[in-house]
Symmetry: C2
Subunit: 434 residues, 2 copies
Amino acid sequence: MNQAQFPRPKIVVIGAGFGGMAAVKALAGCDADITLVDRTNHHLFQPLLYQVATAVLSPADIATASRVLLRDQKNAQVLMSEVVGVDADRQRVHLAEGEDLPYDHLVLATGAAYSFFGHDEWAKHTQVLKTLDDALAIRTHLLAAFEQAEQSNDADTVRRLLTFVVIGAGPTGVELAGTIAELARTTLAKDFKHIDPRMARVVLCESGDRVLKAFPEKLSAYAKGALERLGIDVLLDQPVSEIDATGLKVGDLRIDTGNILWCAGTAARPAAGWVGAEAASNGAIKVLPDCSVPGRPEVFAIGDVSRFEDVSAVPLPSLAAVAKQQGAYVGHLLKARIAGAAAPAAFRYNDLGTMAVIGRAHAITHLGRLDLTGFIAWLAWSLVHLMLLVDFRSRLMVYVNWSWAWFTRGRGARLLAAAPVSPAIVARKLPGHP
Amino acid sequence: MNQAQFPRPKIVVIGAGFGGMAAVKALAGCDADITLVDRTNHHLFQPLLYQVATAVLSPADIATASRVLLRDQKNAQVLMSEVVGVDADRQRVHLAEGEDLPYDHLVLATGAAYSFFGHDEWAKHTQVLKTLDDALAIRTHLLAAFEQAEQSNDADTVRRLLTFVVIGAGPTGVELAGTIAELARTTLAKDFKHIDPRMARVVLCESGDRVLKAFPEKLSAYAKGALERLGIDVLLDQPVSEIDATGLKVGDLRIDTGNILWCAGTAARPAAGWVGAEAASNGAIKVLPDCSVPGRPEVFAIGDVSRFEDVSAVPLPSLAAVAKQQGAYVGHLLKARIAGAAAPAAFRYNDLGTMAVIGRAHAITHLGRLDLTGFIAWLAWSLVHLMLLVDFRSRLMVYVNWSWAWFTRGRGARLLAAAPVSPAIVARKLPGHP
């Protein structure tokens, strides 16, 4: 234990996502003691989480133990624990169990969770996709629906079981809908004797007037066409008004289903209240140009938990690239501050472009003035995501799994632990007649 | 649906393990309707399950959806459901939900579960390894123990958290102990700041007088030496007399630990009672030389749920190879019977040898008169297991994961979903002093 006369400053980083991990990495070599706190033991590559949910990849392919990533960084330790609050005046972080964590500098990188726009009762009828456990729950739910349908003699029950509704046509919603459609139309197509999985209905609901509204209109139109060519019903301008155990109401349409995936709204996790900071309507902490919290120069907020407005007052988008750049910026700022050097200029987001993928071989990419669609965009998407994966092992495993899925249209992670038990099975087919 | 005047015979196979899957495969082309029932949706390569439990492999690497394996077999269907009983007189299988399954021929391939020798209360303090869920539970428990130890200031608590006891020195016990020792001594060695994972204590307890007693004595002695070189305490002739929430008593020795892995005794799953058959002391159904149940020529039992005695009244061992050969035999027998051809001669086990692996580069193999030890045996073990893996994708993924683990000593599947919460954490170290 370091008990020197002048103790080293303590930096606590909450959240091991893109922002938090980038901040810790940027602090390498800094004369400080850094503690990275996360409720899980891993850094997760969230952009590919939908592929775990749809049985293409395994959890281990897109997650790496935080300790492994920081193994060689002498000034950093990892603490697997849940933060429940912050005492910003006494500069201490409260944990769910054990003693407080004191800090001299605090980086909030807790990200966002899903928001149901005031309809919290919808949560229990829908599935969301933020964590590995979420992804495995969706995978179980999807695969069980087909197993249950195979065992039912009732046409309405089968139709209900094989109707999948995705709410929200942002990148996650589009990617999930596309991959579910392909799961039904190709991977599972020939594996059942009583049902035809290709008859599954996939509906993508969007309250706005186009899909992927962060992209130029031309690319949105291309994406809608690509989704429809995959057999997906794309419903635009159709807000959801009801969700219950038997289905949902979208615009004037009632859809009977137990498979509802919520990809619509997100809200920042509750860090603003912890430090008494002003929050935007989605709960995100409004930060100053150096990513610090107004009135608390020792506290920073980055990534989805923060709201950073550029010179024209437009908030930065919820993207891994924003979180990573902010994390690196804050890391360098703290390093300079602790070394007594000049503070860097205000944070500026370097927009490297955005991409979204639609199924097996289509994507759209918006890179400055260069808009790409189709297979060439998908190739760009694949390469960029492989390069962004955090370590070489993940890259290798994802590459192998993708190659397998691409050439065989199979999915390696089609696993169900136990027989699905559901009241939806009203009658079992008499067996012996495959 | 086939509603011909002479309905095709119905064959029900219970269990999608090595025996059941081999029986269904051998029935390809048979003029019958086959239903394979299993509570999970996958065929599991159990010999490598210990590697999922120790974070080397992912579940998807060693499990494949049964539907994929039987996709091209027109006369077979897969039913994901739980069997709760059999009415052997009326020839019907009872399922946990839905209607009965009628059969003309029944193959019981339900395998074995763990047995606690009359101490069922030990089950709640120990972990077993039979299913993918078991393996993931052990993985969570092992990784959480190190995370909790890292957060504790109390030397006794750390010692207790980092003591791992494996009970039973059969192949599974030896393989688990070896891999846990390597996890602590190499993979995790440099990832913590407050504890030294290499100090972890791994104890392998065996009530008999040598490890791997199914092998020749010379190989057992080699294996014991190899385990001890990995730093494992091997306790022979030490029966377990107590297990509770705080530890266990082995011989006269009390060991404080919350990490107890039970690999000692197995008992057949309760199929003998279903069909009113005579069972051996471990619950296995005593079968005739054609693997059928005495008095019920239409019912067969294969693999771990059966007890098959050779001419010298020695029962066949609990091995994947036995189950596979019996499954193939029963499949061919039924195929001949349904075609009106002559029945094959009595089943004869073709012993291809046995192997066990000790850690990263040591194994023993007993192949007829050829006994191998060390790295050459490990190479043989690796090649045989890769070849036995059920489909090419699994082979590829396991090969990639093994290569990774071998060269880097890392483990790719070190994942914990949520912060471990344990009363064992009596005091948290003050952070900021890595």
